[in-house]
């Protein structure tokens, strides 16, 4: 049975796409699914670093497309989960090294082997973005509670719909409960009201993310951090499970969340 492919994208850079891919992918693998992560950010690859697999790269996505190697040769098996793979981007090339239809074929091939193919999109709306979304069955958009990130997310939703990727869902990353309750940060309600799409998950801001990215150990591997729990919940929702949104400290905030949940 063929698996599903999803693209994680955002428009704006630095909102946490790569972190999200690494964590959702690892979380899916922890649930015993066979998962392949694709780094579509050719020329600015990061996913290998965040996964801690940089020193194992021999072949990359451009080698596969240019027939320098077989697809299986380029796949790097994760050091912690044997059912998790990474197809790394090329660092010495640029986005034009791959065409959307090649990407589509590649993802189709991988879907035959995997339960989930998770594609990490580069920032922007140019060719790299078009490559990243070409083979995706559905899209998750990462945004942060900033006006500029939400604006870009809105633009991306419009572009995805134009490309036939209907009903994308949104992940709000780096929510700071304290700042929201003080009214210093956009709240979830405001963001969902503008974007008018389903909420797939809320990830609280947590400095441990930086530490875990630097160490190449996705935060979902740890038991305690709330951010890790949030990513695990998103992974469970991707598999079709219904999971309640986690509470972010104070109660008034939780009531707001419940309100959103009831009408989404």
């Amino acid at each position: 049975m063929a698996g599903k492919s999803l693209v994680i994208t955002s428009g704006k850079g630095g909102v946490g796409k790569t972190t999200t891919v690494a964590n959702i992918g690892t979380a899916l693998a922890m649930m015993d699914y066979k998962v392949c992560l694709i780094d579509a950010d050719i020329g600015l690859r990061n996913l290998d670093v965040v996964m801690g697999l940089e020193n194992r790269i021999v072949y990359d996505i451009v080698d596969v497309v240019e027939d320098n190697c077989r697809l299986e040769q380029a796949l790097i098996r994760d050091k912690r989960h044997k059912n998790l793979f990474l197809l790394p981007a090329a660092q010495t090339r640029d986005k034009t090294a791959v065409q959307p239809d090649q990407m589509k074929t590649l993802v189709e091939d991988l879907k035959n082997e995997m339960d989930y193919v998770v594609i990490d999109s580069p920032a922007g709306i140019e060719q790299g973005f078009k490559n990243a979304i070409a083979g995706a069955d559905f899209a998750l958009i990462v945004t942060t509670p900033e006006v500029s990130a939400v604006r870009d997310a809105d633009r991306i939703i419009g572009l995805l719909e134009a490309e036939g990727l209907k009903n994308p869902e949104v992940i709000i990353n780096r929510i700071n409960a304290e700042m929201v309750s003080r009214g210093d940060m956009m709240n979830i309600e405001d963001i969902i009201e503008i974007l008018a799409v389903n909420l797939k998950g809320i990830v609280p801001e947590d400095n441990i993310i930086i530490v875990s990215s630097n160490r190449g150990e996705p935060v979902v591997l740890k038991e305690n951090p709330k951010a890790g729990k949030a990513f695990k919940n998103i992974a469970r929702r991707i598999t079709g499970e219904e999971v309640n949104f986690i509470s972010l400290e104070d109660n008034s905030f939780f009531t707001k969340l419940k309100k959103i949940f009831s009408f989404s």
Partner: protein, 204 residues
């Protein structure tokens, strides 16, 4: 100073009238400027050039022809001496109306010579330009321009008017920096009165 060219939108197309009292150079410059700013705004329409009370030398006429060729995708360009006045109407009463049944997101742009009705929101970063009225069954947060062909009778109506910028004809307005009650839906209508953009509650 009065513009040496005037535009009206009639049922059968756009009527461009050249001021017989203006110097040829001014007409030429005004036309050139208009062609540049119009881009493909008049796509699909017939353009009538009313030269009724003008007299042009043949090379002047040639120059005019060369300039108006710059209007992109205009169906026909017709020189006429009919005074089409009685037939011309302000576009917001006539003209075609386009229905858009979705929310316009950042980066999406709608440009129509008629009226535009949107069932959905205009999000920040989206842009709607209409020759006539703009009616939005939703919230306006992006940029809207009604009466873009010059009609000062045009208006903008929405369930919630919070535009980044609102233009009618040649007037531009920004909302106040401190916006009021963000939650309530109060339909509002913006129009030009005494040379200024006014906004009033729209009673249903």
């Amino acid at each position: 100073m009065k513009s040496p060219i005037t535009f009206k939108v009639a049922k059968n197309g756009i009527v461009l009238t050249l001021d017989p009292d203006a110097k040829f150079n001014r007409i030429k410059e005004a036309l050139r400027g208009h062609v540049e700013s119009a881009t493909n705004f008049y796509a699909g329409a017939d353009l009538y050039i009313n030269i009724a009370e003008n007299s042009f030398k043949i090379d002047q006429l040639n120059k005019i022809v060369n300039i108006v060729r710059g209007y992109k995708d205009v169906k026909n360009i017709i020189f006429t001496s009919d005074v089409v006045k009685q037939d011309t109407v302000e576009i917001n009463n006539e003209g075609e109306t386009y229905l858009i049944n979705r929310t316009l997101r950042s980066g999406q742009k709608i440009k129509k010579s008629g009226n535009v009705v949107i069932i959905g929101d205009i999000n920040p970063g989206a842009e709607v330009i209409a020759g006539g009225d703009i009616i939005v069954f939703g919230k306006i947060r992006g940029v809207v321009h009604a009466g873009a062909g010059g009609s000062s009778q045009a208006s903008v109506t929405a369930l919630k008017l919070e535009p980044t910028q609102l233009r009618i004809s040649k007037k531009i307005a920004r909302p106040p920096e401190e916006s009021g009650n963000k939650k309530s839906l109060q339909p509002e209508r913006a129009f030009i009165q005494d040379g200024q953009i006014m906004v009033e509650d729209f009673e249903i």
